[in-house]
């Protein structure tokens, strides 16, 4: 599948934003961090910038961005519509939680409820992003049980690492956040490993024989494509540049999203500020690069079943 940069930026940025907001709200409600207004403004503000920037960039690949409001109408059947509605609805508890944290200085009573609703909406939004991909039976690599957990894990992992870095900047010694980041790292590593093993070993059900109905004659292969030049379907679904480098990119991805962050988090988070701040910041930056590569691979490695009509031998 062709990896549109706007979609990759959207899913990684907004994923990190929802993860960051979720962890801030969670630790805020559980009194895990001081409810300092500046700390709240920076964590919730950065999260808001990430999700808003992501949402705006996702409209950049549309043919008619001015009609984007229409995407709020088909929540009954479309996960893309549900994602749009949930993403927009999240701003309500976000503003109310920010009010509690920044103005009232408390996340108790009704503001605690708003923060819990915010956590739920962050999870639901990222879940529906994953479901857009996971429900496409046409793309084996996306129609996988690990797709949605993958989206959720990467959002939480990125959010945890950024939250950790920001709290270090404020001089908060919070081993709980470091622990959350390390749990997130291992969970993501496990899910992603399982995902890659699954797509490498279990092919899609369709074959050139079933795609043409000619299986009774024997093995089917393409003799002539319909046109000499590539058409829309081939350009959009037949993207194959990355597959050649997939193993190498997976390794780079593993280093950047897992190995470097886990070493940096483990070694630096309990040190003095002059080590801990750059260390945890680098961990978050490295993971963000890793997630962007992972998301790019998620697209570039995915084969669309329609390519069986253009010479693909398996789906």
């Amino acid at each position: 599948m062709h990896p549109a940069y706007s979609v990759i930026f959207f899913t990684t940025a907004s994923g990190a934003g929802y993860g960051l907001i979720l962890l801030a709200a969670l630790f805020g409600v559980l009194n895990g961090v001081p409810l300092d207004p500046w700390f709240g403004a920076i964590t919730l503000g950065l999260g808001t910038i990430l999700i808003t920037g992501g949402l705006l960039s996702s409209t950049a690949h549309l043919g008619h961005p001015e009609r984007a409001w229409r995407a709020y109408t088909q929540w009954k059947s479309s996960w893309l519509s549900r994602e749009g509605i949930l993403a927009t609805a999240t701003y309500v508890p976000l503003v109310l939680t920010a009010w509690g944290w920044l103005v009232e200085g408390s996340l108790e009573g009704p503001f605690g409820v708003f923060a819990c609703i915010l956590i739920l909406f962050c999870l639901l939004t990222v879940h529906s992003t994953g479901m857009i991909y996971a429900t496409l039976r046409t793309i084996r690599a996306w129609h996988d049980r690990m797709t949605v957990p993958g989206y959720l894990c990467f959002a939480l992992l990125n959010g945890a690492l950024w939250f950790h870095a920001i709290s270090q900047m404020f001089g908060y010694q919070t081993p709980e956040i470091a622990l959350a980041a390390i749990i997130g790292l291992f969970l993501t590593f496990y899910i992603k490993r399982k995902y890659w093993r699954s797509i490498d070993t279990i092919p899609g059900p369709a074959t050139p024989e079933s795609a043409t109905g000619l299986g009774d004659i024997g093995r089917v292969r393409l003799l002539e494509p319909p046109t000499m030049t590539e058409n829309f379907v081939q350009r959009e679904m037949g993207y194959s540049i990355a597959r050649k480098h997939a193993q190498k990119l997976r390794r780079i991805c593993f280093f950047t999203y897992f190995l470097i962050p886990i070493i940096l988090t483990g070694l630096t988070s309990s040190s003095d500020a002059w080590i801990a701040v750059p260390g945890t910041l680098l961990a978050a930056l490295s993971a963000s690069v890793g997630v962007a590569i992972e998301r790019w691979l998620f697209f570039a490695e995915a084969k669309h079943v329609s390519m069986l009509y253009y010479g693909a031998e398996r789906s």
């Binding site: 043919g63 995407a71 479309s78 024997g218 329609s306």
Partner: protein
């Protein structure tokens, strides 16, 4: 609404005979010709005479090889929208632009509501939808909705453009929901195939597989011995013709 309508009785669609299709691409060309002035007009046509011609086509003809050795077959394979009963291109649409008609099962795009997100083209296993970069909307086969119900056309022309033009009569149009229709009989007689049934989209269109050969033939595909058109020993064949026959038989 992009929820699928309740399943209707009428299922208009195409039956494509892979035995008689000669791969001439006339269906694809006439489709483009009609539809660039029809319901989804215009269809983009970039650099048509240049090095990289590009544009939207609703119908494309692939050629496959099936089987091995002397038993193998070259099969021309026209591919277009199959107007699925479980059309995921409809249900994934976030705006309601993509829809399936309850009255005849035709899947269409309302171009005024399409935001051009392309998700429907990702959801189609058959690669039937093509994006119009000029208009910023998705386009697809309309089953020539502007021909089949068009009362200004003579009745015999009220069929999709691809069907009307096929010189080999390899394309048939009709109601596949009616077990007594001509197309349904054809599917039954020739054991018409559903494409990729394992994905569960329940396409309406059917493909008739090539007929099995009647006798063992050589690699050329020509019968081992042709029945002579004329019998050289027959009465009335003169000495000259018999001599020609002998010379040519050497």
């Amino acid at each position: 609404m992009t929820l699928l309508p309740p399943k209707g009785k009428k299922k208009l669609g195409l039956v494509i005979d892979l035995d008689t299709c000669v791969g001439c691409h006339a269906c694809a060309v006439n489709c483009k010709e009609w539809n660039t002035g029809g319901h989804s007009a215009p269809l983009p046509d970039h650099d048509p005479y240049g090095a990289d011609p590009n544009g939207v086509w609703f119908n494309r003809v692939h050629t496959f090889e099936a089987g091995e050795g002397t038993a193998s077959r070259t099969v021309h394979f026209p591919r277009s929208c199959l107007h699925c009963e479980e059309a995921a291109c409809v249900t994934v649409c976030p705006t309601g632009a993509s829809y399936k008609r309850e009255e005849d099962g035709i899947v269409l795009v309302n171009e005024d509501a399409c935001i051009g997100c392309k998700l429907c083209s990702w959801a189609c296993p058959y690669g039937a939808r093509e994006y119009d970069t000029d208009a910023g909307v998705m386009k697809k086969c309309t089953l020539c909705i502007d021909r089949i119900y068009n009362e200004t056309l003579p009745e015999e022309d009220r069929v999709p453009a691809c069907v009307a033009t096929c010189p080999a009569s390899a394309r048939h149009f009709g109601d596949l929901g009616d077990p007594n229709s001509d197309v349904s009989h054809l599917v039954e007689e020739r054991e018409g195939k559903e494409l990729m049934p394992e994905l569960g989209y329940q396409p309406v269109n059917r493909y008739l597989p090539p007929r099995t050969r009647q006798k063992d033939q050589g690699a050329s595909g020509v019968g081992a011995a042709l029945t002579p058109v004329t019998d050289p020993d027959a009465e009335g064949a003169g000495r000259f013709l018999r001599w020609v026959d002998r010379v040519l038989s050497r």
